[in-house]
């Protein structure tokens, strides 16, 4: 699964607009310039791009969807909003995967689990919001009535409160990641072994969630949501708001990730990826670094999951299937690891291709996905982002 070392993209230097640091032989080190570049999160062009992205996601697309009349050339359909909103959630996952895989060199195949846990957390709240409007006209969610349960299980005790339940959405996956990561990293489980264990954890969780006794709807999961925060959930107005919130979250996480990888902490992460023993013998304890970025990464996935469920309207254990976790890794790899924009582009590219392919040639989608991954590994080790860099002549010198 792990492509050769050269597959890692060159780490970004400073702002997107400030350009790469070109070697200037035999010239004294310009120290002030170096420090200043470090101090900026983004260059002027970078901030402009961020503001444009925010405007597009929160103003332009909502206007084109809600104000521009149906049938107009510039009208953005509800279908497109739903699709892009979904992909925005995937992009958050890909970004989270990039932090842990691209920058720290730890391939997790368990991010599908954190995504699904966040989704389930949101789903529980949405199930309770249905109230008595379910098929059985009961206080309890339909599946509980069907199972002849009389009271809510203890796991649902916070699900009536949006704030408390959202706290759970964040805390449960983060805590799981923290405990799991602590044991795994403390035992110095690395590389493919770590990937396999995360895969196994996800699979075990999927089997657990498939059971009716677990109390999360068994293999049907949660669906048929009616309201969120008292508002009807399936209306175009609510959907465009969810879309905008997801977009803002993605941009926020992008800036956070940017701040992280531009800090010394981020460089320690890359050092762990390149030579972990060297990091240890330099006096850093890799455990703390790996554990913190791993937990943050899981948390980002969980929030993505929580934003995904109200937009898609369903959550079931198939979100925890091994292939879901692998797909996240594919988005990051296709887009370009160790660049922050790459995984976002990758998520859009792969999922855009998927939604087109599954309509045009439904039976060939999986073959195409496989071929895509092989092609990227062989010919584009730095992904789409690497391709762009090469074309714009910005690429740093490659390994000889």
């Amino acid at each position: 699964m792990t492509p050769p070392r050269s597959a890692f993209g060159a780490p970004p230097q400073g702002g997107a607009a400030s350009g790469p640091a070109e070697p200037v032989p035999r010239r004294p080190l310009d120290q002030t310039a170096l420090v200043q570049r470090r101090g900026l999160l983004l260059g002027v062009r970078g901030w402009a791009a961020v503001i444009c992205a925010l405007a597009l996601l929160t103003v332009v697309i909502p206007l084109l969807n809600r104000v521009v009349p149906d049938g107009h050339v510039f009208h953005v359909s509800d279908y497109a909003v739903g699709l892009v909103g979904k992909i925005l959630c995937y992009a958050i996952c890909a970004l989270a995967m990039d932090l842990i895989w691209g920058y720290t060199g730890i391939l997790s195949l368990g991010h599908g689990l954190f995504f699904a846990l966040g989704g389930y957390g949101m789903g529980m709240y949405l199930m309770r919001q249905i109230g008595r409007d379910g098929n059985y006209k009961s206080e309890l969610p339909d599946f509980m009535v069907f199972l002849n349960w009389k009271t809510l299980p203890w796991t649902w005790s916070l699900s009536d409160s949006f704030v408390l339940q959202m706290l759970l959405v964040v805390l449960v996956p983060a805590l799981l990641a923290l405990v799991f990561g602590w044991f795994a990293f403390r035992s110095r489980i690395k590389g493919v072994y770590f990937s396999i264990i995360t895969q196994a954890l996800t699979y075990a969780a999927m089997l657990l969630f498939f059971r009716n006794e677990t109390g999360f709807g068994g293999n049907n999961g949660f669906t048929d949501f009616k309201r969120i925060l008292g508002l009807p959930i399936a209306t175009p107005d609510t959907r465009i708001v969810l879309f905008a919130v997801t977009g803002v979250t993605l941009v926020g996480f992008y800036l956070l990730a940017r701040a992280i990888v531009n800090s010394k902490y981020g460089r320690v992460l890359q050092a762990i990826r390149d030579a972990e023993t060297r990091v240890m013998f330099t006096g850093y304890n890799p455990l703390a670094y790996k554990l913190s970025i791993w937990t943050l990464s899981a948390l980002m996935c969980a929030i993505a999951g929580a934003l995904y469920v109200p937009q898609v309207g369903i959550i079931n254990p198939s979100e925890m299937s091994p292939s879901a976790g692998i797909e996240i890794a594919i988005w990051a790899a296709v887009g370009g690891r160790a660049t922050l924009i790459g995984p976002i582009v990758g998520a859009f590219f792969v999922n855009g291709a998927k939604s087109w392919f599954t309509v045009a040639f439904p039976e060939f989608w999986l073959y195409f996905l496989g071929a895509l991954f092989i092609a990227v590994t062989l010919f584009l080790p730095q992904g789409i982002a690497g391709l762009f860099k090469r074309f714009s002549g910005e690429t740093r010198e490659k390994h000889s």
């Binding site: 010239r27 420090v35 101090g39 800090s263 050092a271 013998f281 330099t282 850093y284 670094y289 740093r396």
Partner: protein, 295 residues
């Protein structure tokens, strides 16, 4: 509490504070002899002149004894070369000192108070033992400058790293080191693009900015040109006295340059010390000749 007890207490307090003051004032900590010393937790004590003390260290891998009752003492400020045929246990010895391998038995002390066998690798690095690997190990995707930045002596915790900014003094230190290791022009290049010899230099530079009290150097000149080797020898000789150095090397010419005909060389064989003495003595030692040439 009686007045005389209180007075006694006040006197002791005064004496304690005077000792603390003296400890910061003078090199030897104001202590001539070893009794009554206040050992500070986690701070190595070098007043007895010993930097590293390995006693009776035995390490076995599946019954094979990589180290067999190895006993070595390295003094403060000493430059000690260790030679020996392949498989003599040189790298295993370094693994033991830096916490990578736990010996089956024996003692390993840094200074006279720090028990190395109780510490983890990062802790050992933090109290002042730096190590250069046999194969140059640098962070390939980071620039030369960033490699040094990460090695620079500083708070190693996560929160400190998140908000760390280089101070002017730290920048100067990196700049100085870049000059010392002749990589000033390459500061912004990825470390992965350097030549083998330059990577060796970079790793040595990373050790320097880490400012360790004891440097362990495993074959530092492997893959270097003659000129580079000579410059390395000069660099190590300039460090001697301020730092303790343990150099493992096969290149006898380099060892000769380092020992300058007057320093002790230790010969390891089958996990224990075979001979110790001047290079010329050791080279004429019958046992050493046998080991190197085969019986």
């Amino acid at each position: 509490m009686t007045p005389d007890l209180m007075e006694e207490g006040a006197k002791r307090r005064q004496a304690y504070e005077a000792r603390q003051q003296a400890a910061t004032d003078t090199e030897s900590g104001g202590r001539e002899a070893g009794f009554g010393r206040i050992a500070k937790l986690g701070v190595p004590d070098f007043t007895q002149g010993v930097a590293l003390y390995l006693d009776d260290i035995t390490v076995s891998f599946d019954g094979f004894k990589a180290l067999n009752a190895l006993t070595i003492t390295v003094n403060v400020g000493e430059l000690r070369c260790i030679i020996g045929p392949n498989g003599a246990g040189k790298t295993t010895m370094m693994d033991c000192i830096t916490g990578k391998t736990r010996p089956d038995s024996g003692k390993a002390f840094f200074g006279s108070t720090i028990d190395l066998l109780r510490l983890s690798e990062p802790e050992i690095a933090q109290i002042g033992i730096g190590r250069k690997f046999q194969k140059p190990t640098v962070y390939e995707e980071l620039s030369v400058f960033e490699n040094l930045e990460l090695a620079l002596a500083a708070d190693r915790r996560v929160r400190a790293s998140l908000f760390s900014r280089l101070s002017g003094a730290q920048l100067d230190r990196i700049g100085e080191t870049l000059t010392t290791i002749h990589l000033r022009g390459e500061a912004q290049r990825s470390a992965g693009l350097l030549s083998h010899g330059q990577k060796q230099w970079l790793e040595i530079g990373m050790l320097l900015v880490q400012d360790p009290k004891l440097l362990l150097l495993d074959e530092p000149v492997a893959g270097m040109t003659d000129e580079e080797t000579e410059r390395t020898a000069e660099l190590f000789l300039s460090l001697e006295g301020k730092h303790s150095l343990v150099v493992v090397e096969h290149d006898m010419k380099f060892v000769d340059q380092l020992t300058q005909g007057r320093k002790k060389v230790t010969v390891l064989h089958e996990g224990s010390v075979l001979a110790e003495g001047l290079l010329s003595e050791v080279q004429n030692n019958q046992k050493v000749v046998e080991v190197y040439l085969g019986r």
